[in-house]
Point group: C2
Chain length 432, copies 2
């Protein structure tokens, strides 16, 4: 019965500081509630001269990873360096040396989760990564404990705070994408290179992990069709708002008998759906189970302390097992053996914004062509025409009934090639 649990931490960046601070704030309460005295005894700090903005005992720092991996007193290694390597190598080594591992590293788990899970199994230790998906929100813990009595059919996540902040502000203030990105960067909500966020890759990493837990699949992020928010214009936001929708960058996956439909893309969601009220830097995960039905988890998906809270939750979970001297779970927290494969994006309703020359018969030609290919129109709206390069042009907004995405693209492409429409400006899925 081990009550004093020693932790080695790799990295002392944003999340590392949050984890250390959260433990300092709540050490006494954790001790009283669980009987566990958890201590971060060593910290890998590859740049010891850099000001970390936190005052902690210098003797805890080391620049040598082996000071942590080879310390027999350390029970749990917390990896908070980020990036796929050397983080994966360090975690693998810790597992092989019989230490349990906690990580917040979505990229490393999305890339190497299966291998690391197997290593943990082989070495009879635990691997946890609650903080890797949706920051402080306890979604992975819930799915793998209280919700085990469900088979899940779908998951939809707002998994990236930066893009949700930009979209929320565009909606609230009627500003353009480029302007809101600059504001987000000034406020520290967006990186100076925002590509991973705004192009949806960060969300795809997290969705890959969520799918593996919910569906037992091994669908790497590179396989998930991923579209970002950079093409969204004020007109799209305005049209959505007026029609009772909100636009969110949604990471979605649905299970069918044949396999998994999945993608990451901006989606029009009805304003009354709980995901529509997730604003600014907040995240949310919506799931549907065959017993529990609809559930949504909402909270901070990033940030020093909220992410630290999730890291510490995992540390406490493992420490409780160590304290009881209990055998580890015979089955891992995550499995990759359902055999379900990625089978496409499925059929959906779509929103299409296009530019046309404002002359009689254009709308008729478009809808006739749609009709020929079985593409049905739910609603159409035209904005007031305006002059451009001596031509009168107008924007058309369509809502299209359920259709396969490739067919829709084919028909739009055909309309464009036949010069019936000048340009297709945006295409987004509609979730009803």
């Amino acid at each position: 019965m081990k009550q004093h649990i020693k932790v080695g931490m790799l990295g002392i960046g944003n999340i590392g500081r949050g984890t250390y601070t959260a433990l300092e704030m709540n050490h006494q309460q954790i001790l009283e509630t669980t009987g566990l005295d958890i201590e971060i005894v060593k910290i890998l700090n590859r740049h010891p001269d850099k000001d970390r903005g936190i005052d902690l005992p210098k003797e805890k720092y080391t620049t040598d990873i082996n000071d942590i991996l080879d310390d027999p007193e350390i029970d749990i290694v917390v990896e908070l360096m980020g990036g796929i390597e050397p983080a994966t190598a360090y975690m693998a080594s810790a597992l092989e040396k019989g230490k349990s591992v906690v990580t917040a590293n979505k990229a490393a788990i999305a890339a190497n989760g299966k291998r690391l899970v197997e290593l943990a199994q082989e070495n009879h230790v635990l691997l946890r990564f609650e903080a890797a998906v949706a920051g402080g929100i306890p979604i992975l813990t819930s799915l793998t404990t209280a919700l085990l009595s469900n088979e899940f059919s779908e998951v939809h996540g707002i998994l990236n705070g930066t893009t949700n902040y930009i979209l929320s502000q565009m909606t609230e203030y009627g500003k353009d994408y480029a302007e809101m990105l600059r504001t987000a960067q000034e406020k520290g909500f967006a990186e100076s290179d925002p590509t991973a966020d705004v192009e949806g890759h960060d969300s795809a990493n997290k969705l890959s992990i969520l799918m593996s837990i919910i569906f037992g699949t091994e669908i790497p992020p590179e396989m998930i069709p991923t579209r970002g928010i950079t093409t969204i214009a004020r007109e799209d936001i305005d049209y959505g708002f007026e029609s009772g929708y909100r636009i969110k960058l949604l990471a979605s996956a649905k299970k069918s008998k044949k396999g998994i439909y999945t993608n990451v893309e901006p989606v029009l969601i009805p304003a009354s759906h709980p995901l529509a009220s997730v604003y600014n830097e907040f995240n949310a995960v919506f799931v549907k189970g065959n017993a529990v039905d609809s559930l949504m988890f909402y909270g901070r998906g990033a940030g020093s302390l909220p992410t630290g809270s999730a890291v510490l939750g995992d540390v406490i979970g493992i420490a409780r097992k160590l304290a009881k001297g209990a055998a580890y779970d015979v089955v891992p927290q995550i499995r990759y053996d359902s055999g379900l494969r990625f089978i496409g994006e499925g059929i959906s309703k779509y929103y299409v914004r296009m530019t046309v020359t404002d002359k009689p018969g254009v709308l008729g030609r478009i809808t006739t062509t749609f009709g020929q290919f079985g593409v049905s129109v739910e609603a159409v709206k035209q904005n007031a025409p305006y002059e451009s390069d001596g031509e009168r042009i107008a924007s058309l907004f369509f809502r299209i009934f359920e259709v396969e995405r490739p067919l829709l693209y084919y028909v739009l492409n055909k309309l464009h090639k036949e010069n019936i429409i000048l340009s297709v400006d945006n295409i987004m899925r509609i979730e009803d």
Copy 2:
């Protein structure tokens, strides 16, 4: 290492059927994921001739509680009878006989939780009651595992589906309370005697349990100031809607150094708050922790299968420990020893609707009296006057800045006694 876990179930009503059905639906998946073969082997059915609307092997039924309590093969007793007694006596007996207990019984846990928790401790078995608060939402599991690294400062719950359904429909269709209650009864969302729901007692039971877990307090439901939704009129809903608020029956508790402020009452919540988008029969729990910050859990707070999902989640949690032959947690899931006591309802902003005679100077006399007692007005609105009993009368709507509730009541009472106002029609808290 016990892999075949036998469960005895007390009661085969709505939740009993949901639990049985959810296990039938997902038995294979639970087996594959956890290695556990969970079986409900006996069911206490006090009215064996009643049609239960479910087809299950008759030999599982018994009318004798001792068939379950004295069966050495049964590891877990699931209590789904409802009501404080005999449920509490049966649970106590099961714990004393070394069986772990799972219950969905909020009334019994709110009334006798402390005694039952102590009994479980003494007998080295487990007591779990996820389903007792907010149905299928895994709030208790999350608070006692992934979120243990937090000190929580407040909790706000929409914990009753019946009242939330009525308020949502009043808002959507502009209908009166009485009419919407009838609709809810017809649709099966409200009982024929709706008192426990509409007067807030059901929510108070659940809040008492939530507070014990979040704050380690022992504040019985009878001590929580509780106001229902029966006095809410269309005018209140309309005023809230126009002013950017939604009205929800909120079960709230906040911690201060001195103790706990708590109550259950209808509250005006800003439309942009995530709790404002919880519609119809759905429930939600919003908490604030010192590391994780704001979190909200949303889902079905009642219903056969969603509640069954929570019951089964607890059963699986206990079964996993049994399967590992692990020593039970040395500390209970719930504690009552923080010493924090109920200290009142705290100060808040308030909404007040009143009726006055429509003559010059009335508003001035009201605001002057408010001012004398330090009650500050944030906003005031008057509806068009109308004739009643030969007098021209009007409704006034006030938003009042932070004030102690007793002071506000005192001043309103004084205004009424001095015949400055004809009646105070409604008072509700505003959460900003």
